[in-house]
Symmetry: C2
Subunit: 347 residues, 2 copies
């Protein structure tokens, strides 16, 4: 494999001149530049990543810490990952995917050894053990997901509170007065998945404000449990006219459950989900939904990270906590309830 020394010799110049000719960091005569480029081309020269990393303290690699939990739907995860890898590549970075069970130790390993220039954390927990390590690390970090303590990192997430309110508002405006919210499984919450209760609590609060009854329940993540749960819910709250779904597996299971019950959407039940357009397409979900934009979030996190990596001034900017506003995509799965109760003014 050709080194820069080989290129220099081939071009008849010194190693430093070859380096400058290739990087353009100092003026080099047209003639010499040509010779160096030709030599590099001829020898198929590619700089050694380790050597360059050693010399520049830059690896052009970003770490991506993610876990594939079976109770958080896999296809959704893929989209976050793709958002990160695609954007990283656009900006000239490769992605080190780390899925260790012990995320804190893995994070320490890749940051201490200087394998990466920055780190994106996913599957953020309310009290995430990786965050203290990330704050102490010399590399900048960003998260997709909102932790309890956002200091020292850039945070990107869907505005789940607003999503919860938007769902309730939408159905309230149509005249619904009794709704059901099905969330992620309880152990997602136990693991610290704050987005579950952020959406739920905001929805409850808004429901209270507008005099809407909102039944909330933890869901399941798998068939057939989640299908059974849907049946049970619909049996338990027969007067509920709207269903809010913050649980991909439940959304995916609903069509067949509705079919089994002879339940028409939206005539008998209005439905709003919270998932991505890509997910909706894969499962052909015919429901209006709040877009969760996983690819956009991953992309935003990487862009900010790279800004901080590449610019000393950007590195000193205050940390951001950025929420993307939930966009309600209408697919016609909501309508005024069949037998609307008289509109009572809120409160």
């Amino acid at each position: 494999m050709a080194t820069i020394g080989d290129v220099a010799r081939e071009a008849g110049v010194s190693r430093s001149t070859a380096s400058y000719a290739l990087s353009g960091k100092r003026p080099i005569s047209e003639e010499v530049r040509r010779r160096v480029l030709a030599a590099a081309e001829a020898l198929a020269y590619t700089p050694n990543a380790g050597a360059r990393a050693l010399a520049t303290s830059r690896t052009k690699v970003l770490g991506l810490l993610a876990r594939f939990y079976t109770d958080e739907f896999a296809p959704a995860m893929m989209q976050y990952i793709q958002g990160v890898t695609d954007t990283a590549r656009d900006l000239g970075y490769d992605t080190l995917l780390v899925t260790d069970e012990d995320g804190a130790r893995a994070l320490r390993r890749i940051t201490d050894s200087r394998m990466v220039d920055g780190v994106v954390l996913m599957n953020i927990a309310q009290d995430d053990p990786r965050l203290p390590i990330l704050r102490a690390a010399p590399q900048p970090g960003a998260t997709v997901g909102l932790p309890g303590d956002c200091s020292g990192i850039d945070v990107f997430d869907l505005d789940f509170e607003e999503a919860g309110r938007a769902m309730v508002d939408h159905l309230h405006r149509l005249g619904h007065r009794e709704l059901i919210l099905i969330s992620q499984p309880e152990h997602v919450v136990e693991r610290g998945g704050a987005y579950v209760w952020r959406l739920r609590d905001a929805a409850l609060e808004r429901a209270r404000q507008c005099g809407v009854t909102l039944h909330t329940v933890y869901g399941e993540s798998r068939q057939p449990a989640v299908g059974r749960l849907l049946h049970t819910l619909l049996d338990t709250y027969p007067s509920a006219t709207g269903l809010l779904i913050n649980n991909e597996a439940a959304a995916a299971a609903l069509p067949s459950v509705a079919h089994e019950r002879g339940l028409r959407v939206p005539e008998d039940l209005s439905v709003i989900g919270r998932y991505s357009a890509e997910f909706a397409a894969a499962f052909s979900l015919p429901y209006s939904f709040v877009e969760s934009a996983p690819d956009r979030l991953g992309s935003m996190a990487v862009r900010q990270l790279v800004r901080r990596v590449e610019s000393a001034t950007a590195r000193r900017e205050p940390f951001v906590v950025r929420f993307i506003s939930p966009e309600l995509v209408s697919r016609g799965s909501t309508t005024p309830p069949r037998d609307p109760r008289p509109r009572t003014p809120a409160r």
Copy 2:
């Protein structure tokens, strides 16, 4: 950040002694070893990955080239990836996930720059443009998936031919004489996804041998197209008594299609799928299936790769093409056909 020089000074020894004390590659007195380890501990010393890579020509990183095609089901992909990352970590390696559209160029980049010690290729095409590059690369490579030309690499795949035969045999033995096989979408084939026709052609051949009629058709990868297709198929071949599914999306869609038609499995239709147990669990698919073992395949590829990376003798061993035998997992979705035609001896 502490370097090995800092550790050496703290321990009052030379850099080389510190290095040997930490690596154990030369005998070091107990006393000195203790001092060095204590110093390393006190300074939270972690070797710089770039420097180590430069000195040893080893990065302890494996490349994983994968693409997330929307027409090959995402959850299945995740399992391959997890098989790779988990096994790599067990063996002391990190994983560089590369999802570039131009896989050949990406592969050249990571191998030429010596970012990785070895490479696992996924989404293998019959005539895969990445393979010539991999063969020319100084690092060993393995694939999950069978390319047309296996020279110079280690290949791991499910025995799709045997899977096709096993499916046909199983139903033939039960007395079925007319079957339908639904494959992946046609553009998976156009992209060079050989596993599609490997399973199909072997199934056709075996069906011919035992006098079974086998209707084959390319599937769709998404709802609702795939659901419509299933309806059409069942309408078109009303006398078919068995359904073979080599298409995750079709398998996932079948329960609701069956429900819509009032079709009972296995009483009215025997069904065998080809997917992973994990996939079956996520979608609660009640069908017997041929296990595709994505995690095992990823794991095997990595193990072989690491063997070659770490041992000069292993590197000289002949390349392997290893198929894992399809295991038929029974879930009771097959039974003799309702109105069995008289058993005609094969041929």
